[in-house]
C-alpha cells in the first residue's frame, strides 16, 4: 500500500507539488495524468525515494520513507520495480546482463538459474532470444520492454511506469499497454503509471489521479473520470489547447 500525505516539493523558487495526498491500495492499478512539466514524474520519483520532498510523508506499507537515508531506502526499493521514460538501460551491457542485474546483485543463484529466469522474463515481455543483443541495437519499444523485464525479474510488489508509451507509435504503444496489463495480472503487482497519453491511462488505470496547477485536481474510477463534465478535466481528456496557447 502506498500513501502520500501533504507532499510539497520545490526546485529553487519553482514550486512543483503543493500539498498532494492520496492512497493506492495493494494490487490496484492507478494512472497519474497531467500536463507535461506538471510534476507527474517528480511525484513518481518521490514514491520510490529517488527524490526527497520539502515536507510531507510517503508511506510504503505503513513505513514512512521520507526520513530514510540512501542505505535504508535500498531495502524499501526491493519492493519496487521502475520503468523509466527513456528506459535507462545500462548501455555498456547486453540485454541479458541488464535484465539479470538485480538478480546478480541481490540473490545467490547459479548462472543456469539466472539464465533460465532471464529467458522466462524476456518471454513474458515478448522479447525471446534477444539475450545477447546490445542495448544500443534496440528500438524504442524494445528498450521499454527490456526496462520492464529488468524491473520485474525479481518479482516486486509495486511497478512504477514513467511515461511508458511516450515517443512510441500507436501500435507499439498498444502492445506496451497490453504488456502492463499482462504483468499486473500475472504478477499481481500494484501498478502506478504516469502518462499524458489518454489511451494508455484509460486502458491501464482502474483509477485516475489528475495533477493540475501543482495540486491533485481530480481523482476517481476510470469510467467516471473519463465521463466527467468538469471543464478542466474535459479539456485535458479532449486535448484542447488554451486560447492563449493558440
Amino acid at each position: 500500500m502506498i500513501e502520500v500525505r501533504q507532499l510539497h516539493k520545490s526546485f529553487g523558487a519553482q514550486e512543483v507539488l503543493d500539498g498532494i495526498s492520496f492512497r493506492i491500495e495493494s494490487g490496484e492499478s492507478v494512472a497519474i495524468i497531467g500536463r507535461s512539466g506538471g510534476g507527474k514524474s517528480v511525484l513518481l520519483k518521490h514514491l520510490i525515494g529517488l527524490l526527497q520532498p520539502d515536507s510531507g510523508e510517503v508511506l510504503i506499507d505503513g513505513e514512512n520513507i521520507v526520513r530514510m537515508n540512501e542505505r535504508q531506502l535500498l531495502g524499501v526499493r526491493r519492493k519496487f520495480g521502475m520503468v523509466f521514460q527513456g528506459a535507462a538501460l545500462f548501455d555498456s551491457m547486453t540485454v541479458s546482463e541488464n535484465v539479470a542485474f538485480g538478480l546478480r546483485r541481490h540473490e545467490h543463484l547459479t548462472e543456469a538459474e539466472i539464465s533460465r529466469r532471464v529467458a522466462a522474463t524476456l518471454e513474458l515481455v515478448d522479447l525471446p532470444g534477444t539475450e545477447n543483443k546490445n542495448s544500443a541495437e534496440l528500438s524504442g519499444g524494445m528498450r521499454k520492454r527490456v526496462g520492464l523485464a529488468r524491473a520485474i525479474i525479481y518479482e516486486p510488489q509495486i511497478v512504477l511506469y514513467d511515461e511508458p508509451t511516450t515517443g512510441l507509435d500507436p501500435i507499439v504503444s498498444d502492445s506496451i499497454d497490453q504488456l502492463i496489463l499482462r504483468v499486473r495480472d500475472r504478477l499481481k503487482v500494484t501498478t502506478v503509471v504516469v502518462t499524458h497519453d489518454m489511451r494508455t491511462a484509460r486502458r491501464v488505470g482502474q483509477r485516475i489521479l489528475m495533477l493540475n496547477e501543482k495540486k491533485l485536481y481530480a481523482t476517481g474510477p476510470a469510467d467516471e473520470f473519463f465521463a466527467s463534465r468538469d471543464a478542466v478535466v474535459r479539456q485535458f481528456i479532449d486535448g484542447v489547447a488554451d486560447a492563449k496557447e493558440n
Binding site: 520519483k45 520510490i48 525515494g49 529517488l50 540512501e70 542505505r71 531506502l73 535500498l74 531495502g75 526499493r77 526491493r78 519496487f80 520495480g81 521502475m82 523509466f84 521514460q85 527513456g86 535507462a88 538501460l89 545500462f90 548501455d91 542485474f101 538485480g102 546483485r105 541481490h106 526496462g147 529488468r150 524491473a151
Partner: protein, 259 residues
C-alpha cells in the same frame, strides 16, 4: 564582486565537503565488502592494462631527458657517472609517481567522469538506485580500489622504464662509463626513495578516482554538463596531485629523516 568571491569560496568548500563525504561512504562500503571483485578486476584492466602505453612512453622519455640534462650540467664538474643516480632518485620519489598520476588522471579521470556523468544524465544512476544498488558500491568503490592498486604498479613500470632509458642514453649516446654509471645509481638510490614513490602513487590513485567519480555523479544536465565535468575532473585531479605531492614530500621527508 564580493558576492562572486563569497560564492566561489562557498562552492569550493561545499565541493571539498562533498568529496569527503563520498570518500567516507566509499570507505564504509569497502569495509562491508559491498562491491564485487568482478567489477574491481574490470577496473584494474581498464585503468592499469589500458594505460600501459602512455605510462611507459612517459616514463622512458622523462628518464632520457632527465639523464641527458643532468649529464650536461654534471659534465662541467666532471661528475658524469653520477647522472643516472639523479635519474634514479628523481624517478623513484618524484617524477615516477607524479607523471604517472598526471597521465592516468588525463586518461582515466576524464573517462570516469564522462562515463558516470552520462549515466547520470540518462537516468542510469537512478535506475541503479531503483534496483536497490547504492551507486557508491557499484560505481565508486571498484574504481577507487582499482586505482589504489594500479597506480603503484604503473609507477614501478614508469620508474624502471625511466632508469633503463636514462642508462641507454647515458651509455650509448653520451658515452658515460656503464659500470660506474650503474654503480652510482645503485649507491645513491635507496629503497626508501621507492617506498616514498609508491606511497605517493597509492594516494594519487585515490585522488584520481574520487575526483573523477565525484565530478561524474554531480555533473550538470546535458552534453555540456558532461563535458564540463570531464574537464574539471582532469584539471582538479591534476592540481590536487601536484599540491598533495608537495605536502607528501615534506611529511615523508620528515618521517624518513631527510629533512
Amino acid at each position: 564582486m564580493n558576492l562572486l568571491a563569497n560564492r566561489r569560496v562557498h562552492d569550493t568548500l561545499n565541493g571539498l565537503g562533498q568529496i569527503t563525504l563520498l570518500a567516507r561512504d566509499a570507505f564504509a562500503s569497502l569495509l562491508r565488502l559491498r562491491m564485487t571483485w568482478r567489477d574491481v578486476l574490470f577496473q584494474i584492466y581498464f585503468i592499469g592494462v589500458k594505460s600501459q602505453l602512455v605510462v611507459l612512453v612517459t616514463g622512458a622519455f622523462t628518464g632520457m631527458v632527465l639523464g641527458a640534462q643532468t649529464y650536461f650540467q654534471f659534465h662541467k664538474v666532471k661528475m658524469d657517472t653520477a647522472s643516472l643516480a639523479v635519474v634514479g632518485v628523481s624517478m623513484c620519489s618524484e617524477l615516477g609517481p607524479v607523471l604517472t598520476a598526471l597521465m592516468v588522471a588525463g586518461r582515466v579521470g576524464a573517462s570516469m567522469a564522462a562515463e558516470i556523468g552520462t549515466m547520470r544524465v540518462t537516468e542510469q544512476i537512478d535506475a541503479l538506485r531503483t534496483l536497490a544498488t547504492h551507486p557508491v558500491d557499484y560505481l565508486v568503490v571498484p574504481r577507487l580500489v582499482a586505482a589504489h592498486i594500479v597506480l603503484p604498479l604503473l609507477t614501478v613500470e614508469s620508474v624502471v622504464m625511466g632508469i633503463g632509458a636514462g642508462y641507454l642514453v647515458g651509455v650509448y649516446l653520451l658515452g658515460i662509463d656503464p659500470t660506474y654509471l650503474w654503480y652510482n645509481m645503485l649507491h645513491f638510490t635507496h629503497d626508501v626513495d621507492l617506498v616514498i614513490g609508491l606511497v605517493k602513487a597509492f594516494i594519487f590513485g585515490g585522488i584520481i578516482a574520487l575526483i573523477g567519480c565525484y565530478k561524474g555523479m554531480t555533473c550538470g544536465l546535458g552534453a555540456q554538463g558532461v563535458g564540463r565535468a570531464t574537464t574539471e575532473a582532469v584539471v582538479y585531479a591534476s592540481i590536487s596531485i601536484l599540491i598533495a605531492n608537495f605536502f607528501l614530500t615534506l611529511v615523508m621527508g620528515k618521517l624518513v629523516g631527510q629533512l
